[in-house]
Amino acid sequence: MLFDKASSKNRYGRSFTIAVGSLFLASIILLITPSLNSEEVMDTGWDQASISTDNDLNDVLALNSTSAFAIGENGKIYHTVNSGVNWSEQDSGVIQDLNAIEFNEQAVVVGDSGTVLINDGESWTANSIEGAGNLYDLSVPHFESLADSIIFVSGTGGEIWKWSDNSWEDLSNFTGTTNDIYAVDFVNENEGFAVGADGLVIATIDGGLSWEIRETPDEFRGLSFYDVIIFGYQGNPVSAIIVGENGTIIQSSGTGPTAIGFIWKVPSETSHPTNTTNTIKSISGSSRFKFWVVGDDNFVALTEDGGSSFYNQSQLQNSGSDFTGVSFWDGYFGFAVGEEGTAMYTDREGQDPRVLDTAINFDTFWKYAKYAFPYLKEGMYNTLKIIVLAIFMGFSIGVTLAVFKTSQLNIRIPLSMPREDGTWKFVNFNPLKFFATIYTDIFRNTPLLVQFFFIYFGLMEIGIDLTFENLLGPERALERAYGSAVVALGLNSGAYQTEIIRSGIQAIPAGQMEAGRSIGLTYLQSMRYVVLPQAIRIVIPPLGNETVNLVLNSALASAIGFGEITRKGRLLISLTFETFWTWGLVLICYFVITYTLANILKYVEKRLKIPGLGLGGEE
């Protein structure tokens, strides 16, 4: 009979395990799919303008506010006149990879095997260099006609060539390096910089006939630099900015023809303004203060203060794509391109506009769901991030304070005056119970929302740091709203869990504690090994309710700006105006979490069930 019962329980247990397991697995898959964590990511600053090609795009050139050339592998050149909505492929006449494009009266492109192409407005004509290697960049300081123009190109193995007087001249012997030169930029016909592999930075002031090394700080030895931009004033260079591997951005400013390039302003060790270790590939901007940088792994960022701080403009839709080129027409209109035809366009400096002139329209739910999915996924991830820590914190507080509340510690405090017969009247005072009671009373009798505000805004003012920077270090410090949300929910839930676990402890017969003490266990050992294991088993169902409550309460974290599901829902509505679908999906997200959690707890309850302990032991 016993055996029968056990086997039927097992069968039930197995299907239960499968159900819970699959729900759990689904949430895990949801979570581990790549996701951006930063709440600052704005998905509305750029419009997607991808080109339907498998070829990687290597550079882009904005011709005006709506038209651009994009160039890439296998001699591909694409052209758009309508802000990237349509791209038309142009006949480049070559099949070599094209690497860089530059404009001065006419567009000029360089590519592998000495390829140089010039656009006369109608078509591309080759002006390639015999015997040159792969060319990575170019600069066109002067252009009247092809016959009356100056073009510098740089490439493999320290190559630099100059087009003047209608012919190519090899300046490679003057560069003094055999490193690949990835970028070159001239502010006028004579003064320019070239940067490349292994921390190479060289400059010329005589049109490339001689080059001298501009030493960069030691920590950049070994890093490759991929782009350089020289900002000038009335034809004189005033500022150079170099970008490259490991999120590097360094700059040098000065006045006078030779002043820049000797002292480099390097971000301090602690503040990494680009906040990335991705390789930065390209830089473009309207002034030395306002420019964009793009790079590997969907890195797109804008600075408006000359590089001291950046706004991350990564778009979720481009997750995982490397960006290779960026080009702005002015400070508002620009294009960025990357691998496998990735391209995007902005007419609003890449920033989230205050007012959307057109909401995104979705004709079917599935299109909308596909759009909303990344937001909600990130929201769920963030919600889980809060609740996992908050449940853990709440449970720790709950167990500790429940033990406090049931403790027998009594301090006898004499009342102020002795009685007439000379004896003293004492009152018993239990400081542990007193503390726990105050704690639970406060947290259970005030609104959770106000607790959130108090912890997020109030504690900051008196200098309590909920980013835990001192504890975790600046690298791993928490977002303050995140730290606050965990603490607020954990403290609040701790108060409720205290009461639940206390009731469990009190439901265990006093004889159990006595039995524990009688074999020599201390009070705390008896709690730990005898009373609590039974008490907690009894209170698993109400603890389950409390954790579900905690998940639901986590929606309040949206009020202090943490990007959990509810906040993502509000963001989605501000982008799409689809209130019914959005809130419906938000509800489903919560349901998935709480239902999974409830089932896991039911399963835990089954697993921990012990014959003869608690009610409902027999099924």
Binding site: P509, G511, Q512, E514, A515, G516, R517, S518, I519, G520, L521, T522, Q525, Y529, V530, P533, Q534, R537, I610, P611, G612, L613, G617
Partner: protein, 248 residues
């Protein structure tokens, strides 16, 4: 009682007044000699359980002195946990740890109090469980045992700590009549092994059989005390009346 034997337990002028003012024990004194069995009988509320619980300080004595050999149990400087591990206690309602299997119930004190390794503790636990004839149940939870089996496990749990004295607080009161026998058998085997014991019980026949010294308590005081024969010939009216009620 001979003079040359040091008592294992010495109770001197024990008084207990509960917080509510109930005067449960009024100046009780007695000695428990090594390898002897002291049986305390008396009606409900006579203070016999209170005396027993005062001995391992599950109840804090108000006045008086209690010694385990030469250590005063109710002195503030005594490590009561160490003392308790030397005094076994068997409860009326068993008080097995419901969440632990039989083997773990018995070995818990050995690992957590004595600090023995798990293997050593389990070896000892298996030995004592064999002594109470529970070897076949080491892997079940207390909830799956009958009352008599539970009480035998509880005896094994106390016995495992190798105590200097064992206290039995009405060990058979909560059992059905047909289950009492097996528990009494286990206790008798302890007697045969020479275990020092204090037993609070209603089983007059059993008291007569195993007791070396019988104490009859009423209203917090010792009314009669002496060898088991006193049960046969009570001197006081109170004890006569009590025995009359019990034997009806």
């Amino acid at each position: 009682m001979s003079e040359d034997e040091t008592p294992v337990i010495r109770v001197k002028n024990l008084e207990k007044i509960y917080t509510g003012g109930v005067h449960a024990v009024k100046g009780v004194s007695f000695d428990v000699l090594p390898k002897k069995v002291v049986v305390i009988i008396g009606s409900s509320g006579s203070g016999k359980s209170t005396v027993l619980r005062c001995i391992n300080r599950l109840i804090e004595p108000t006045e008086g002195e209690i010694f385990l050999e030469d250590v005063q149990i109710n002195s503030p400087s005594t490590d009561i946990n160490e003392i308790r591990s030397e005094i076994g206690m068997v409860f009326q309602s068993f008080e097995l740890f419901m969440h632990l299997k039989v083997l773990d119930n018995v070995s818990l004190g050995l690992t957590k109090v004595r600090g023995y390794s798990k293997e050593k503790a389990e070896d000892i636990a298996k030995d004592v469980l064999a002594k109470v004839d529970m070897s076949d149940k080491i892997d079940v939870y207390p909830g799956q045992l009958s009352g008599g089996q539970k009480q035998r496990v509880a005896i094994a749990r106390s016995l495992a700590m190798n105590p200097k004295v064992m206290l039995f607080d009405e060990p058979t009161s909560a059992l059905d009549p047909e289950l009492i026998g097996s528990v009494l058998e286990s206790i008798k085997s302890l007697v045969a092994d020479g275990m020092t014991m204090v037993i609070v019980t209603h089983e007059i026949g059993f008291a007569k059989e195993v007791g070396d010294w019988v104490i009859y308590m009423d209203e917090g005081q010792i009314v009669e005390a002496g060898p088991p024969e006193i049960i046969g010939e009570p001197k006081t009216e109170r004890m006569k009346k009590f025995l009359g009620q019990i034997l009806e």
